[in-house]
Symmetry: C2
């Protein structure tokens, strides 16, 4: 829900003003790709802007590994809690709330209000923990489609996401071709590489082997696998940044009092990574993290098409924007071009933009003028 | 020490035949860069070939993070225990034992027979553990110089190493210019990048936060921080291989019975990394690992020269071979070119070879014909 910006508040952040999450309850069983099913579940979401009478101006924002429904604006009870993609959503911004009705949600299996491993399992009256099923990108899209139904939205004007969020945008065009007019697939890949999976597995092993993990049932033990989650996030952060950006941001600068010939923090980069790791471990759920990385690993729409990505993407009728960033080494431009080439081969409408931005994989979150102009320009063609 | 190859044994591996480690005892105090000192210490070493009368044909092989003194041949009690760089050492091989006297050692702080954290601290009669000082590349070179003294070797014909070993070869030319006629600096860098340090710090944090680490005094607790060491090695392995090589070696292949929607091994790359991690954790010392990575982080000969690498390298009188590998993303060719450019600027003799080899950072260990020809050709110019 959207509230107007408070007088005197700078519109540079939180352009849509104070917001609050809502919760949609679903009582129809959802069968997952794994064969498991959820008899009922909740999705936490936020919306910004106004749905028009034709219900034709809705845009779905899909989040990446650690994202959630708080995409834009600030929380009414905490003005400093700005949405994770606030720079792109608001009046006059690329996802223009004067024109579009924007929906952000927390995916199934998440830890920000949607049903997930830290939710109570009605069958046991205890947290799901390890018993919460593994969910896939297709499962998320199926759950998101039901959320669209609650608004009476037959088709999204656009589905947009970066990284794992971009994979959901792509999956929408395959699972519900008629329900998505355009897809913005940013800093993504049509499937993970062996190296990508390797990094994910190290992160998972850090969590799974943390003695405080207790096979995923740590909630009952009054502990959390903070060590493992911290390591996973530290490692993740290295892969989100570019080598050049890290060099510029930290270089080999040492903190005051360094040169200790010990194992305390010495280099600035160590301080940054440990801080990021600690911050994340303090708020994120380890079982959610495991499932988010697994969804990444499993994503591979071409798998059932003999690895022929063009054949896999053929059912899509959406217009595509595929965007990549020159310094992203997690999902480099070559991975985006795989999707572009498949769409071109099929004669499907696609715009490709390779954006020169220094921030590595994290570029998709940045307030970069060229990048934002690309998104705004593409959406103008799509209309509302 | 060298023994001739047993009749009937294929010379393709273990060309120098059965070997055994020797141990040099030093009773003269060694003051380290940190200010700490070791009153006495042992270095484990092996030699291959024969030292000539002029003692002018000696080559020192420096090891990288997890290496040791067993460079070539096979252990008399285990023919399958082949030296880690056997493919380059032996009769007719690039480090030709018919011409050269080759010395391999385990560095100070190691865990293969040289004095290190798992050795007994004479002051306490317990393992050194956390009390073993942090050692630097310069400290290793100082210890290696004393080992040279025991052989009566005034100057090495060559000092050679890959990765952290290459850094030692470079440091030799600065700390003892008159004692090294040539240096082969392979797959190295003049200092670590912020990203390199970041990866090292994640690995160290995995060890330091393992509950079985006990602040480095795990020996007395009858446990070892296997979880942390395993994670450190898994992560290391990703950075040793190239993305392309991992794609070729593992791709997205899954193991039989995969698709479990759980957290057991599914992808081949997971199986490989976990196996490598387990194997390493079973044999390596965690305190040694911490110190080896710290030596990498600290290495920065230009630090005292206002970051002017040419000024730092000016004292060297050795002839240099700098070699890099196209697919090495840990220390890519650009890092080697920094050293080449500094030497060229100074008018110092340097040969640079950028070798097209698919094996990423690990290429320096591979039996690649072009690579080996480059080393052999360079050494022919150096003479013995």
């Amino acid at each position: 829900m959207t509230t107007s910006v408070g007088a005197g508040r700078t519109p540079s952040h939180g352009g849509v003003g104070a917001v609050a999450s809502r919760f949609a309850h679903f009582d129809t069983e959802l069968t997952l790709q794994s064969g498991a099913s959820l008899p009922a579940y909740v999705l936490a979401y936020e919306t910004y802007g106004t749905l028009n009478a034709a219900k034709s101006n809705a845009i779905l924002v899909c989040h990446a590994l650690s994202g959630h429904q708080h995409v834009a604006g600030f929380r009414a009870d905490n003005q400093n809690d700005i949405g994770w993609w606030d720079n792109i959503v608001g009046p006059g911004r690329p996802l223009d709330t004067d024109k579009y009705f924007i929906v952000g949600l927390n995916n199934l299996g998440g830890c920000h209000g949607s049903t997930g491993p830290s939710s109570i399992n009605p069958a046991t009256d205890k947290p799901w923990g390890a018993d919460f099923p593994v969910v896939t990108v297709s499962d998320w899209v199926a759950a998101q489609a039901r959320l669209a139904d609650t608004f009476g939205i037959d088709a999204w004007a656009a589905v947009i996401g970066g990284s794992l969020g971009g994979m959901q945008a792509l999956q929408w065009t395959l699972d519900f071709p008629q329900r998505v007019r355009s897809a913005l697939v940013i800093a993504a890949a049509p499937k993970l590489s062996a190296e990508n999976i390797g990094f994910n597995d190290v992160a998972r092993q850090a969590i799974l082997t943390d003695p405080d993990f207790h096979d995923g049932h740590f909630y009952q033990h009054g502990v959390r696998p903070l060590r493992g989650l911290r390591l996973a996030r530290m490692l993740g952060h290295i892969t989100y940044l570019s080598d050049d950006q890290m060099a510029e941001k930290f270089g080999r600068r040492q903190r005051a009092g360094a040169g200790s010939y010990g194992f305390e923090v010495e280099f600035e980069v160590e301080s940054y990574l440990r801080h990021q790791g600690d911050k994340f471990a303090g708020v994120f759920d380890a079982n959610t993290y495991l499932r988010m990385t697994k969804a990444l690993d499993y994503f591979d729409p071409a798998a059932n098409f003999n690895d022929d990505l063009a054949a896999a993407l053929a059912p899509a009728t959406a217009r595509f924007l595929i965007a990549s960033f020159t310094t992203d080494w997690r999902f480099p431009p070559s991975r985006s071009r795989e999707m572009v080439n498949a769409l071109v081969k099929n004669g499907q409408p696609v715009v490709y933009s390779e954006i020169d931005c220094a921030h590595g994989h994290d570029s998709f979150l940045m307030d970069d003028a060229h990048y934002h102009a690309v998104i705004a320009g593409f959406l103008r063609q799509v209309g509302s």
